[in-house]
């Protein structure tokens, strides 16, 4: 999962939720990512966010606090 590809996917989601009312948009993005992204993908997204959120849509950045941190893997 290249960072570019993940950022692209996150931005696509943000683009859709931009048409929601302002107060729902970020929550919509977070909910979508929480529902459909496997923990590894979310972990990569957090890496991008920590490294300056390069290439990420501002709405994804706004949604970040609502995105679930992946748990360490069960043995």
């Amino acid at each position: 999962m290249s960072p570019d590809k993940l950022a692209y996917m996150a931005n696509q989601i943000a683009t859709f939720f931009k048409s929601r009312p302002e107060d729902e948009a970020a929550a919509g993005v977070a909910d979508h990512i929480n529902s459909f992204w496997e923990p590894r993908m979310r972990a990569k997204l957090f890496e991008i966010l920590e490294n300056g959120a390069t290439g990420l849509d501002p709405l994804v950045v706004e949604a970040a606090p609502m995105i679930r941190q992946p748990k360490p893997e069960r043995a």
């Binding site: 529902s35 992204w37 496997e38 923990p39 590894r40």
Partner: protein, 959 residues
């Protein structure tokens, strides 16, 4: 077991609700108004002799055998064309009728060969039966004189004689046996709707002719076989019956090709399948079929089929045949090693939309309970996953709203991104029948598909949009509905969230969504958009049918929601004749989705994070389920390239050929350490596999398929699995090799587990399916025999949800390097990646993929019809032959993806739907240029595939 004899009532049933009572041969009979005397008699158990009548087509009244006498009426009317009337007294057998019928039969037989003993229809010939029934004992006219039977008369060539036409690979046409009853001509017209057959000449000179009196194969015949089924003699006869003789027993089963899910009688002799005959009680197909379902089953015995398990260390090694025990033990040890070494989430599985519900259920169970993660996905990822997301969001459940019978009550059909005459042929025939009765059609498709204009069918509107502009067009249709006040306010207020509707209405009413603005994006004239919107909103029952031209886009899910919005706004939901109807690609793609094949959902579309749902399965399976969504297919491949995903079990799915961006798929597979392919053939994906587990065909197992109308149909085993095990047994063996300890002895036990855990299947049992034939889910206490139409009286989710659908242009754009847009699709005779149909005689119709290109674009590039051309995108390039046609607009090219040699998916990119990662197959910017033949890549690929398919010769035992 014996053959399944369905009663032929002679004429179609009347749909009238008014009843008439009359007397036939002394019995009182009550039937609907409009019923023929012949049918009324048949319903009373009395079969009137007949030749030209059969209940699949309207009465014709030509054979004069079904005559009856009616008290108080003169003459001897034909019972097939005479409707019932109250208090009629009818006699079907009188001295006068007997004499007339014998006379008629004498005339028929005087121009028919008497080779009954060596005739392929011997024992299955209605002419023979009628001769017996009327007591024919003599033919006073003899067999000399003018005839169609003999090639030469008295040494002279007989100009009336026509030789047998054997051009069609599946059936023969022998005019010398024809009695000109016209059943074939009428079946082609009324049942199939192709109008390929006609009667040429007049009187005694009348003969059946295909096309412009051509060979069947050269004519426009689509080889559906309706004529063969209708023929009362051996004139049109299956070659399989000519070769093998007649079948002696049959079982009803379900076709394993497209999502229509036709019911067939598999007619057998011993373990040999003699022919497939569509089952009239099949509620999806009502006795009809297409060329694939009826004829293209030969792959089951094809020499390429692999019957023994095989393993190899590296994908560059030749395969080594091993025992089942060794193959399974090896797989289990590899899977355990991988999880030990790389973690629990390094494994995954892909369920098959070709396999049964029971099989997909246990593959996802193996992943969730056995592997302990949720890395399970299915081919719906690349076709209808946006339908799942879009319809669940708007209506509350992920399925089409109607049954196929619903089309009989539809007044206006919108067909978007679907080509049913090729992709869903039996539904297309039912649709065409309704269109001939006067329903209107709106086609939204970049190509001029056959339904835009074909014999006796013409779309009121064809909106030939630029690929990728679906959302803009649908929102523009909604703009017209809202701004012109054509919406159904009462319906919306009662069933939908009114506030959300108002937000949505404000959005669609914005001038940027007007047809005039959208014309600039889509290339569709504004007047056509306005006309189509008005027709759909005001033309009576409006139904939308759509296919992958909707879903396989960056905005696939948005488009599905835009369709749902439009249907809700016009009140076109919740009753027969309306609805939102995804045409599903594969036989069991609906079922595989229902069965929890998606990584975020347990069976019945319940999110994995839902504790109550997990609890049901955890208690039953005695495991702890992971509460996080798993990887989807494209994510698995990405993770494989990254190194965190190392092994996969793929049942009945060829991701290398069917998924986009072939090179990326190949890289992902090549990065894995244990790829297990469970399939009939060494498919393209198997080139990268380490373990091959042979699969079984739908003829070799029991189970159920769920078609596009949510109909759960039985699949019945008619022969033993040639590979030794049905697919569910193989999965169970693998699960047990991993220590799961399962002990299913029959798929009905798996269905019982599905019913026990999944509310929408709660009432489904094999006993119920036996009794009802089929049921449509939801099937539970509230709907004990299933649900033909969904959302009656209210939506599954409560209030219908309007969603704002902003158009976002795809990033896949044309430019100077790639100035054309490629879109992809199917053809009638081939199916998906072609693994099955390429191994049948269907290849006579389509032996290779062709690139359709508009004459203008071809001219600019110096391309002539049949030239080799290079097709290139930013992902890759391939070569194929061009077909020049104005079915595609200038700027658009089209190809099918049935042949691995073409590998159309080398061209497609990794862009995908924003919500579901469904790939954007339908839009790729490309360039086309003349070429000399296959590309280097194609040659390398072919060589790699050849190497990868080597099977080491078995070791000789030492003496």
């Amino acid at each position: 077991m014996s053959l399944i004899h369905e009663i032929d009532y002679g004429t179609p049933a009347s749909t009238s609700e008014e009843a008439v009572t009359l007397t036939i041969d002394g019995f009182e009979v009550t039937v609907p108004v409009g019923t023929s005397l012949m049918r009324a008699a048949a319903e009373a158990g009395i079969q009137v002799p007949k030749l030209c009548a059969t209940d699949m087509v309207k009465s014709f009244g030509s054979c004069r055998l079904c005559l009856v006498e009616i008290e108080g009426r003169r003459g001897t009317p034909a019972s097939c064309t005479t409707p019932v009337a109250p208090d009629m007294v009818v006699h079907t057998q009188t001295p006068r009728l007997k004499e007339i019928r014998r006379g008629v039969m004498e005339l028929y037989i005087s121009d028919h060969p008497l080779d009954c003993l060596t005739c392929a229809a011997n024992g299955d010939c209605e002419l023979q039966d009628m001769a017996g029934e009327v007591g024919l004992r003599d033919v006073r006219y003899g067999y000399d004189g003018a005839n169609h039977v003999k090639a030469r008369d008295n040494g002279e060539a007989n100009p009336r004689y026509r030789p047998k036409d054997e051009s069609n690979p599946y059936f023969t046409f022998d005019p010398s046996k024809c009695i000109v009853c016209s059943r074939c001509v009428r079946a082609c017209e009324e049942v199939q709707g192709t109008f390929a057959l006609t009667i040429e000449g007049r009187g005694f000179g009348s003969v059946v002719a295909a096309g412009q009196d051509e060979a069947f194969l050269a004519s426009e015949c689509v080889s559906c076989g309706a004529c063969v089924q209708a023929c009362p003699t051996a004139t049109l006869q299956e070659k399989s019956v000519i070769d093998n003789g007649l079948p002696e027993h049959a079982r009803v089963t379900t076709c394993a090709y497209c999502g229509v899910g036709c019911s067939f009688k598999a007619e057998m002799r011993g373990e040999e399948l003699i022919r497939m005959v569509p089952y009239k009680d099949g509620k999806a197909n009502r006795g009809h079929s297409c060329v694939k379902g009826r004829f293209a089953y030969g792959y089951a015995n094809h020499k390429d089929r692999i019957l023994n398990p095989m393993i190899r260390e590296k994908i560059t090694d030749p395969w080594r045949e091993v025992s089942w025990e060794e193959a399974l033990a090896h797989t289990a040890s590899e899977f355990r090693r991988i999880q030990h070494q790389y973690g629990r989430s390094a494994l995954g599985g892909i369920t098959s939309s070709r396999c049964t519900n029971e099989e997909t259920f246990i593959v996802q169970k193996l992943v969730r309970a056995g592997f302990g993660n949720n890395n399970v996905d299915t081919c719906a990822r690349v076709c209808h996953s946006p339908t799942g997301y879009g319809l669940k969001t708007t209506f509350g459940t992920s399925a089409g709203t109607q049954d196929f019978d619903s089309v009989e009550k539809t007044d206006v059909v919108i067909l978007i991104g679907a080509n049913p005459t090729d992709g869903h042929p039996v539904f297309a025939s039912r649709l065409k029948k309704r269109l001939r009765e006067g329903a209107k059609l709106i086609v939204i498709d970049p190509r001029r598909i056959d339904l835009v204009r074909s014999p006796h069918i013409e779309a009121s509107y064809h909106l030939p949009l630029k690929p990728g502009s679906n959302v803009a067009i649908l929102t523009a249709l909604a703009h017209v509905v809202v701004t012109e006040g054509l919406f159904d306010e009462a319906f919306i207020r009662e069933r939908c969230d009114w506030d959300e509707f108002q937000d949505w209405a404000t959005f669609v009413s914005d001038p940027r969504n007007s047809p005039e603005e959208v014309e600039k994006i889509s290339g569709v004239p504004a007047a056509a958009i306005r006309g189509a919107a008005r027709l759909y909103a005001t033309g009576g029952n409006g139904a939308v049918y759509y296919g992958l031209g909707v879903t396989e886009h960056s905005q696939g899910s948005t488009t599905v929601m835009a369709i749902a919005n439009l249907a809700m706004a016009t009140g076109n939901l919740g009753r027969p004749g309306v609805g939102v109807n995804p045409l599903r690609g594969q036989n069991n793609v609906q079922g595989s989705c229902d069965m929890g094949s998606f990584p975020h959902e347990l069976p019945g579309y319940r999110h994995i994070s839902d504790e109550a749902t997990r609890d049901i399965f955890e208690k039953l399976w005695n495991v702890t389920l992971d509460d996080e969504p798993g990887l989807r297919i494209p994510n698995m491949l990405d993770a494989a390239v990254d190194g965190s995903f190392r092994g996969i079990y793929i049942q009945g799915e060829d991701i290398l050929q069917s998924d986009p961006d072939t090179k990326h798929v190949a890289a992902g597979l090549a990065a894995m350490e244990c790829v297990v392919v469970h399939d009939l053939f060494l498919n393209e994906t198997a080139n990268y596999a380490h373990v091959f587990l042979p699969g079984s065909t739908f003829l070799e197992k029991d189970g159920t398929f769920t078609n596009a109308e949510r109909r759960i149909n039985r699949v019945r085993r008619v022969m033993a699995p040639k590979n030794g095990y049905a697919d569910w047994e193989v999965t169970q063996l693998l699960a047990n090799a991993l220590g799961c300890g399962w002990n299913y002895t029959h798929p009905r036990e798996i269905m019982a587990e599905i019913a026990a855990t999944t509310p929408s299947f709660a009432g489904v049992t094999y006993e119920l399916l036996e009794k009802e034939g089929s049921v449509q889910w939801p099937c539970n206490d509230k709907a004990p025999t299933g649900t033909p139409v969904m959302h009656v009286g209210g939506f599954q989710r409560g209030k219908g949800k309007f969603v704002v659908t902003e158009y976002v242009a795809t990033d896949e754009k044309t430019g100077p390097r790639f100035p054309l847009l490629l879109t992809t699709g199917r053809i009638l005779t081939q199916y998906n990646v072609g693994a099955q149909t390429r191994r049948t005689a269907n290849t006579v119709w389509h032996e290779e993929d062709r690139l359709e290109i508009h004459p203008h674009d071809a001219e600019q590039r110096g391309i002539k019809d049949g030239d080799w051309v290079r097709l290139a995108s930013r992902s890759g390039e391939t070569s194929l032959k061009a077909r020049i046609t104005d079915r595609v607009a200038p700027g658009v090219v089209y190809t099918t993806f049935h042949h691995p040699g073409t590998q159309a998916n080398v061209i497609t990119t990794d862009f995908s739907d924003w919500a579901t990662n469904c790939p954007e197959y339908k839009v790729t910017a490309v360039q086309v240029a003349l070429s000399n033949g296959p590309s280097d890549w194609q040659q390398e690929y072919e060589e790699q595939a050849r190497q990868a398919r080597r099977i080491a010769p078995a070791m000789e035992a030492a003496e």
